[in-house]
């Protein structure tokens, strides 16, 4: 706590957020209160500089999982508790004391030592801090994706980790390396040991180690999306789009009457939300990639025909909700890279 601000310095506003934490069955677990900074009151160039923080690409995650499965390595998951509170700050930041916290009077401020949720640079600073800790442990960051780290001993890979903000997937050929890394990480941060990797970014991960296969699906997400858009009772369809589809720009509404007709038809459904939800599902369902791309082209001014097609994609997902993306050793033999190229 400081008495008054240095000359020319402005304080960032703060706020307390109250939150009820519930378990999966909506039972109350605990009440939480977070002190957050009002990042929107920060001044660019003074209170923060860069804010970009990379996250792992989904393609890296799939390759990571395919690789681990192919080699039959152990795969674990840890989560860093309140990750953003660990980031050191490069700037001198003062914050007003939120209402409800004991205060010596007006004119007193807090000087921040570390980042807080809400600060623009919190994500970036956290990533930077974690990077330093990982380097200290002997990891090197890969050139292909800076969220994938490798640790070697005598030339051989002993640990491979993938970082997605506060989620860390840890893999290695020998469990004892994984255990020692977890305890190392626990010295710098409070971590939750989630055991073997079961979920990552909303994707359910199941392994069949005897067959060297890994199954990925977003069925829980798909079910939730179906309920969100009220399509629980929709009919089942076996392909997402008919061959002779006739989606064109001419089906976009042009007159006020047509716009009203679209709004009446859409009801509570927001076209962009639906497209966005479908887009997320393409991560484990590349079979809908083309048709999602197609409906997304009409996002600017969607018509009834476009929305019908978008809903139909969701019906298709519903009909095939138990399908998994299967990675790993699908054929005996060497790890081989094959690509397909085509245009339309």
């Amino acid at each position: 706590m400081v008495d008054g601000l240095p000359k020319g310095q402005k304080a960032v506003d703060s706020h307390i957020v109250f939150h009820k934490k519930q378990d999966g069955h909506e039972n109350l677990i605990k009440f939480k209160a977070h002190i957050v900074a009002k990042g929107f009151s920060q001044i660019p160039g003074e209170d923060f500089m860069d804010t970009f923080s990379s996250v792992a690409k989904f393609s890296t995650l799939w390759i990571f999982l395919a690789y681990v499965t192919y080699l039959d390595w152990d795969l674990y998951h840890v989560d860093v508790v309140t990750a953003y509170l660990h980031g050191p700050l490069d700037e001198e930041i003062y914050m007003t004391i939120p209402e409800g916290v004991e205060n010596l009077g007006s004119g007193y401020y807090w000087k921040l030592k570390k980042a807080l949720y809400g600060l623009k640079q919190a994500g970036r600073q956290w990533k930077k801090r974690l990077h330093e800790v990982l380097i200290k442990f002997g990891f090197i960051c890969t050139f292909a994706d800076d969220c994938l780290y490798i640790k070697r001993y005598e030339g051989n890979i002993t640990l491979l980790i993938l970082v997605y903000v506060d989620d860390i997937a840890i893999a290695g050929p020998d469990r004892c390396h994984i255990i020692s890394f977890k305890s190392f990480l626990g010295k710098d941060f409070e971590i939750t040991d989630l055991g073997e990797l079961k979920h990552m970014l909303g994707v359910l991960v199941t392994r069949d180690r005897s067959r060297h296969l890994i199954y990925l699906n977003q069925s829980a997400y798909i079910q939730r999306t179906i309920a969100r858009f009220g399509l629980e009772n929709s009919t089942l369809v076996s392909i997402p789009l008919a061959v002779k589809h006739d989606l064109t720009l001419s089906q976009s509404p042009t007159t006020e009457a047509e716009k009203h007709a679209f709004e009446d038809y859409a009801g509570d459904i927001h076209y962009l939300s639906l497209v966005g939800s479908l887009l997320f599902a393409t991560q484990t369902r590349p079979d809908i990639q083309f048709v999602v791309g197609l409906v997304a082209q009409f996002s600017n001014n969607p018509g009834i025909a476009h929305l019908k097609t978008a809903k139909c994609i969701l019906c298709y997902l519903k009909s095939t909700v138990d399908y998994n993306l299967v990675l790993g050793k699908r054929e005996e033999g060497k790890f081989n890279l094959v690509r397909w190229s085509d245009s339309n």
Binding site: T60, I63, Y67, T142, F143, A144, D145, L148, I150, N156, I157, L160, Y215, S238, I239, L241, A242, V243, K244, H245, R285, P286, D287, Q289, F290, V291, T320, D322, Y323, N324, L325, V326, L327, R330, F335, N336, L337, V338, R339, W340, S341, D342, S343, N344
Partner: protein, 116 residues
């Protein structure tokens, strides 16, 4: 805007090559260096011919030269091209609406399978 199917396929091939290079980098870092050139399947003969013969083609001179880096990758045997007929073109599932049978066959090839 591509003015011919060869150009469109050629640009697509250039993108596939870039992705292949990235994957190649990643797998090499993971101790899986490719020992053979990465195979890229394409279904356009004109495009394959253009990429494989580094001479200037009068009817392809409008194609932006930065796409021609593919020719070097082929020459250095980092990638190689293979012609597949349209019916075996897996990437079709990403570019057009397909009839049932083809859609399901390609979906299986992508590794999207029902739970057993």
């Amino acid at each position: 805007m591509a003015t011919s199917s060869v150009e469109a396929e050629y640009v697509a091939l250039a993108n596939a090559t870039k992705e292949a290079i990235w994957l190649h980098t990643l797998l090499t870092e993971l101790d899986f260096p490719s020992t053979t050139a990465t195979m890229i399947h394409a279904d356009n003969q004109g495009c394959i011919a253009l990429a494989s013969n580094p001479v200037s083609h009068s009817r392809a001179r409008h194609i932006d030269i930065h796409h021609h880096f593919i020719q070097e990758y082929i020459e250095h045997r980092e990638i190689r091209l293979n012609y597949v007929s349209t019916k075996d073109m897996l990437a079709d599932v990403f570019t057009k609406a397909l009839p049932h049978e083809a859609f399901e066959r390609f979906r299986n090839l992508l590794g999207i399978l029902p739970s057993d």
